[in-house]
Structures are given as C-alpha cells and as structure tokens.
C-alpha cells in the first residue's frame, strides 16, 4: 500500500516535475548567456558602425566583458530612495525579469522542443507581453521621482498603443493558420514563410516590436537626453541589472515571436539537401540572430522619434493599415477558398 503510494508520488509528481525543471534550465541557461552576449554584440556592432573599437580589454576581443559587467553590478550597493515605496520599488524589476522569462514557456525552438505546447500559445505570449508594462509603471510610480514617473507614463502609453496594431497583425497570421498553437503556426509555413505573402504585416510587426521593447527609435521612456534614464533613474546594482536583463530578454523574445509568426520558426528556407541537414534549433537561433542584428542596426542609424510622431504612427498609420490588411486577407482567403479547414 505504502509502496504504491510512493510509486504514485514518483511517477505522478516527482519525475514529471523534475523533467520540467530540467527542461526549464535547458532553456533558461542558454537564454541568459544569450542575453549577456547580446549586450556585448550590441556594443561591438554599434562601435563598428560608428568606426570605434568597442569593448576590447577584458578577455580576448572583449569576450569576458559581460561577465565583468555582471560582477560589477552584483557587488554594488542597492540604494532605495527614502521617499520610495520599498516593496513595490523592489518588486518592479522582479516583475519585469520574471515576465521576460516565463513567456519562453510556449516558444517552440525546434519541432516538439517546447516546454508547454499550449493550444492558446499566441494568446499567452500576447498576454505576457501586455503585462510587461506593469514592471515599468510600478517602477516609475514607486520611485517617487518626477523623471521616473514621466518615463513610466510615456512608456505605458506607448506600449498600450502599439499592442493594438500588433494584435491585428497576429489576427492576419491566425487567419492563414486556423490555430492559436505556435507549433501549428510554424508547420503552416512549410510551403511559404508568411513574411512573403504578408510582407507589409511583417514590417508593421517588426516596427511594433521595436516600440513594444522600448528600443530605438522609440526609446522615449528612457530618452537619456531629456529624462536621464526614465523609469530606471533611481535604480542601482542588481535591481537595475534585472531591468536590463528583462529588456534584452524581451528583445530576444520579440525576435523569436517574429521568427515564429513570419519567418517559419525552425523550418529551413528550402526543404532540400544541404539545408535540411542542419537541425531546426540552429535555424531558429540563426533567424533570431539576424533579427537582433537589425534591432541594433536600427539603433545605430535612425534618430529618435518625437512623442507626438510616435503616437501618430501607432494610432493613425499602423492601426488603420493593419485593420485594412485583416479585412483584405480575410476577403482574399474567402474569395479563393483558401481558409484553413478542419484544424
């Protein structure tokens, strides 16, 4: 009796729980290493684009620079402003970091390599990315500082605005797939990547992703020239590092989302000999890498938008345009009888 109970506990809870834990570690450890080296890549690429050397002192070619940065941030003192709400002040960076990590639970990095194959995977991703605004707005409010609060207000208005057009872009993709499951979305692109038939939506999604992650040219929340660093201004040491890690993990996440929705996820560009020898996870990482390079490239070349221009672009250009494309795509699919059936 007791033996079978222990066996149940092992097969029912301990073993699957441990397996999931191992899966999570296998995803998160490479992710955090990627985040660390994304900061180095950003500095190197920016330096190359403005004819500088970039970090080159710590380790060969500056390869140990992220570790040095992490060590520096860990050993600094966490300063909490006297007027701040202590609990919320420390909760805000944790929220940002946790949200950036848990979104990866549904991302399929290769065929079947996913922690949780949710039926509503796209909605889960959308929900988590819409929660990202809380980390910023709570940080801005609890710092009890004007710069931080202004940055938080700007950021939340921006993120809420661009989410609307992102939602419509996702709807156009879902119309072509007929499922909310991320693996099904990738498998639907076996004949052609959605970036080709839905090219304008791909561009709109990528620009919205830039705005959603508060990256250049939409980095008004932390515009260092006017707001000194926006919502992060009162943060130091690990609290700041958590914001930083969350932001870069979000960049990788948004690139991953773009890859899954438009660039065929883990699928090779053509299903012929030299391409399909390479495992899917390599293709997935390669596509993310290219998109991240574009993120940095945009930062090096495009000047910052003014705030009213940003709002105009979101509400008056992207929203009507993507709405039009939803109707157009639905119309074309219906007229030529291409709607996905029986999923």
């Amino acid at each position: 009796m007791t033996e079978s109970l222990w066996q149940n506990l092992w097969t029912g809870y301990v073993f699957p729980g441990g397996l999931i834990l191992v899966h999570i570690l296998m995803l998160l450890v490479p992710l955090l290493v990627a985040v660390a080296y994304l900061t180095l890549m950003e500095r190197k690429v920016l330096a190359a684009m403005s004819l500088r050397m970039g970090p080159n002192v710590v380790g060969p070619f500056g390869l140990l620079q992220p570790l040095a940065d992490a060590g520096k941030l860990i050993f600094k003192e966490t300063i909490i402003p006297s007027g701040a709400n202590k609990f919320l002040f420390l909760a805000a960076p944790c929220i940002t970091f946790i949200l950036a990590m848990i979104a990866w639970a549904v991302i399929p990095v290769a065929d079947g390599w996913v922690i949780s194959n949710l039926n509503v995977g796209v909605l889960y991703l959308f929900a988590i990315s819409s929660l990202g605004v809380y980390g910023i707005i709570i940080a801005g409010w609890s710092s009890n500082s004007r710069y931080a609060f202004l940055g938080a207000l700007r950021s939340s208005a921006q993120m809420v605005s661009y989410e609307v057009s992102m939602g419509l872009v996702i709807i156009t993709v879902l119309l072509c797939v007929g499922s909310l499951n991320l693996s099904a979305i990738v498998n639907a692109q076996k004949t052609v990547w959605f970036a080709i038939p839905l090219f304008p939506m791909f561009i709109v999604f990528f620009i919205s992703a830039l705005a959603e992650t508060n990256r250049h040219p939409f980095d008004l929340p932390e515009a260092e020239a006017e707001l000194v660093a926006g919502y992060q201004v009162e943060y130091s040491s690990m609290a700041f590092a958590l914001f930083f890690l969350g932001e870069y993990a979000n960049m990788i996440l948004m690139s991953g989302m773009t890859t899954i929705l438009f660039l065929g996820g883990w699928l090779p560009p053509m299903d012929i000999a030299p391409f399909n020898w390479i495992p899917g996870v390599v293709w997935f990482c390669l596509k993310i890498f290219v998109l991240l390079f574009v993120f940095i490239w945009v930062r090096a070349t495009v000047p910052r938008y003014r705030y009213d221009q940003l709002m105009r672009l979101g509400w008056k250009v992207f929203l009507p345009f993507s709405l039009l494309w939803v109707v157009l795509t639905a119309g074309v699919l219906l007229a030529f009888d291409l709607l996905p059936k029986g999923v």
Binding site: S130, Y134, I137, V160
Partner: protein
C-alpha cells in the same frame, strides 16, 4: 488531483483576499494593484477549469488594458487622505442604506432563483473531450452562429461608447501648431532650398 485541488484553494484564497484588500487598503494605487492580483488569480481559476481561452482573454483585456488605464488615472489623482477620512462618518448613513438595499435585493434575487428546465438538459449533454474540440473552436462555433446578433449588438454599443468618449474629450483649439507630414513631404524643392552663386567678398 491533489496538486490541482491545492492550486484551486491557493488561487481562490488569493482572489478573495485581494478582493477584500481592494476595498480595505488606504492607498488607491495599492487598491488597483490588488485588483490586478485578483484578476490574475481569477484567470488561474479559469485555466484550472480547462477554459484556457477565457483565462488568457481575462489577462489580455482586463489586466493588460483596462487595469493599466485604471492605474494611470489613479496615479494621477491628487487625493488628500486625511480629508477623505474625515467625511467617513458623515457619509456612513447614506452609504450604509445603499449597501443594505443592495443586500436585500441580492437576497431576493437569490431566493427566487429557479433553474430553467432547458438548462438542465443542456447541462446533461455530453461535453466533448478537451483534445477533440479546443476552447477557441467551441466558443467561435456558437458565438458567430447562434449569438451573432447579440455579438454584433455588443460591438455596436462599444463603438458608440468609444465615439462618445472621443466626442466628449475632443477640443479643437485655434492657433495650435500641428505637424502635417503630407505637407512636409510634398513641399517642392524650390520652396526649401535656394542655390546662390556668392561672389567673393560681396556676400548675398
């Protein structure tokens, strides 16, 4: 099953506790944050019931959009807490009366509750297994066929509300400088640039 029961009690307890804290906490910003926590746990309860679509929608719509606007408004409010508490006893009789009236109404509604005879037969229908029909398909199948007029009606009401809010807040002030991007882009070169040959030591 034990884990699911534990998760249910966890989510339910946090939902009720944070619902209580929404009205009990003194700082309105904390109230809104507790409201968000309550929404979140309600979404967790939906997922436990197997209604993952509704759970995700709850998070996207209420937590991701509605509560952000709440938080915006509440953070901007300049409330004097001392003044607020002074008026408490003054408003207590009126507020208490309203509360009692609502309580009696609720009791009457619940007392006269009769389960419709059709509902019992609907509930007795076998529910298809979760791996055969997903939530999203099941909802779409009834929402866009049987309830299409109600669905469109709800959409129209929301549209009217949205237009109403815009009309109420839109002010057209004269003399405001606005950027007209099409005008900027369509400006001919002659208006913007003039090329002159400047003689040395003469100037223009």
């Amino acid at each position: 099953m034990i884990i699911q029961a534990l998760a249910f009690y966890l989510f339910a307890a946090i939902t009720v506790a944070s619902g209580f804290m929404v009205i009990a906490s003194r700082n309105p910003v904390h109230s809104v944050l507790f409201l968000i926590l309550a929404f979140f746990n309600a979404a967790g309860l939906f997922v436990l019931m197997g209604a993952e679509f509704l759970g995700m929608l709850l998070v996207i719509v209420y937590v991701g959009a509605v509560a952000v606007l709440f938080l915006f408004v509440v953070m901007m409010l300049d409330i004097n807490f001392v003044e607020l508490r002074q008026g408490f006893l003054q408003y207590l009789p009126v507020g208490g009366m309203i509360g009692i009236v609502l309580l009696i109404e609720l009791a009457m509604v619940l007392g006269g509750w009769v389960v419709a005879p059709e509902a019992r037969s609907v509930a007795a229908d076998p529910i298809p297994a979760l791996d055969k029909v997903t939530n999203t398909h099941a909802l779409g199948a009834v929402l866009y066929t049987k309830y299409i007029y109600l669905f469109q009606g709800a959409g129209l009401i929301l549209l009217v509300a949205m237009i109403g809010a815009i009309v109420l807040t839109l002010r057209s002030r004269p003399g405001v400088k606005r950027q007209s991007i099409s005008e900027q882009v369509n400006r001919p070169r002659e208006d913007a640039v003039a090329i002159r040959k400047v003689e040395p030591r003469k100037g223009i």
